[in-house]
């Protein structure tokens, strides 16, 4: 099965339905799609917005490399990742990953893998804008995210 890969880095919002339709449209061998959306949280009201900075060029390239790995590891019909940058308020979507496959296990695992690697390897950085007007900090990388990515190295995942 050849896997369609689409990566986009953009300021604008994305449309999950049309991104999913892009992978399944016209095909009759896709039995499962998994669409993951990551959204900005207000952290109990303390966060007014996130400012996402990225490394243009490398962001697309790195997510593309992660997607190629997923396509080698699982039987996929398609894989899409859309990541936004700029100022994003709580409730707004930040990232979308869609995986399409014949079987649900591959779709779930590929989407989860792509998100775990994207979190730790895609060149994006978040800076807080606080609700109380105090100086926002750069969000620190989480150990839990490194661990989530590491689990894919210790299992064959199939």
């Amino acid at each position: 099965m050849s896997c369609t890969i689409r990566i986009r880095i953009q300021r604008e919002a994305f449309d999950t339905e049309s991104e999913t339709a892009f992978l399944t449209g016209g095909r009759k061998d896709v039995g499962a799609t998994v669409a993951f959306t990551g959204l900005c949280r207000d952290e109990g009201g303390t966060l007014k917005a996130l400012h996402l900075e990225h490394y243009p060029g490398m962001a697309e390239a790195e997510i593309g490399r992660i997607a190629e790995q997923a396509a080698e590891r699982w039987q996929l019909a398609g894989l899409t990742a859309v990541h936004r940058y700029g100022r994003l308020a709580p409730g707004e979507p930040i990232v979308l990953v869609v995986a399409a496959a014949t079987h649900r296990k591959a779709a779930f695992e590929a989407a989860s893998f792509l998100m775990d690697y994207l979190k730790t390897r895609a060149p994006f950085w978040k800076k807080e804008e606080r609700s109380d007007g105090s100086k926002g900090e750069w969000v620190e990388a989480k150990e839990a995210d490194d661990e989530a990515a590491a689990r894919w190295r210790s299992t064959n995942g199939k």
């Binding site: 490394y55 390239a61 990232v95 979190k119 060149p123």
Partner: protein, 85 residues
Amino acid sequence: MSLDLRYFAWVRERIGHAEETVEPPAEIATVGELIAWLSARDEGYAAAFAVPEVIRAARDQEHVEHDAPIEGAREIAFFPPMTGG
């Protein structure tokens, strides 16, 4: 050798600019040596690279370790651990 450098997030903020072109001396062979050489420039660079272990680097838009050679590179980028997604 002329080399384009790019800085992101708090590395960029501490250094005070997002990109520049440098001519490191010939004895600077690795990414780690480049970090040490840059750190000596001024307080901003020193602050950005104060804890070199946390600094991530990319050579021509691919992640590399600090022992990676810089020879032949067009662009080296420095940044904190990623927090996308």
